[in-house]
Symmetry: C2
Subunit: 132 residues, 2 copies
């Protein structure tokens, strides 16, 4: 009779066990992924707090204007020298933009490096720094 209608109780149990085995593993996998996500989130918040208080100075040619941005590109301070003032509004506008671009690229570079260090420390592939 067993042969006719597929496995007897023991076989179903084995079949059930293998299904439960697979589903059990998927449950563990799910828990592990969840924990990993938590770690990543906690670390990402820590790095963002670090970046928020970091400062990056940018200059225009001749350092007549200095601009300071945070690690997440927030403007903090602008320092326009008297010498820069003498160049007139048009030229000064260009120098200010130049100094801001310098500070902005330094800040973005530092942020990307911190994010990619974080990704690597968490065992993620380096390519993830395109996350920004």
């Amino acid at each position: 009779v067993n042969g006719l209608f597929g496995g007897g109780k023991k076989d179903n149990k084995e079949d059930g066990q293998s299904k439960a085995g697979i589903l059990g593993n998927m449950q563990n996998l799910y828990e592990t992924v969840k924990k990993a996500q938590m770690v990543v989130q906690v670390e990402a918040v820590r790095v963002q707090k670090e970046l928020a208080v970091a400062e990056f100075d940018g200059y225009c040619q001749g350092e007549l204007v200095k601009v300071t941005l945070s690690g997440n590109q927030q403007p903090i301070r602008t320092d326009i020298t008297d010498a820069a003032m003498e160049l007139g509004s048009e030229k000064l506008s260009l120098l200010v933009t130049e100094a801001y671009k310098d500070a902005h690229s330094k800040s973005v570079l530092a942020m990307k490096e911190r994010m990619s260090d974080l990704a690597q420390s968490l065992g993620m592939p380096p390519g993830l720094d395109g996350l920004k």
Copy 2:
């Protein structure tokens, strides 16, 4: 004999089938997730290109200084009026920073809105806009 040594050929086949079924589903799931990731990546690049050419103007009090940033906070232009020049370097430095902060917050807000629209259009939960 079958009963003694667990299921006959047919039962192992069924057991094999259920395992293959589960693994087959996981393969499909994997393919689907892969495709979804591709779509997200293509859309994210499109949005970033849009933001890169968008412009956001920021002003200080009295609009004596105007600053223009792109949608990914790149400095594009600074416009310092002659009236602002008359206030001297210290006061002007404050006004420039104020105008940059205004432009920066507008640009970040627009970027977050675009990213959260994108996430929703892809069926992702809205909370993801904390991505930046």
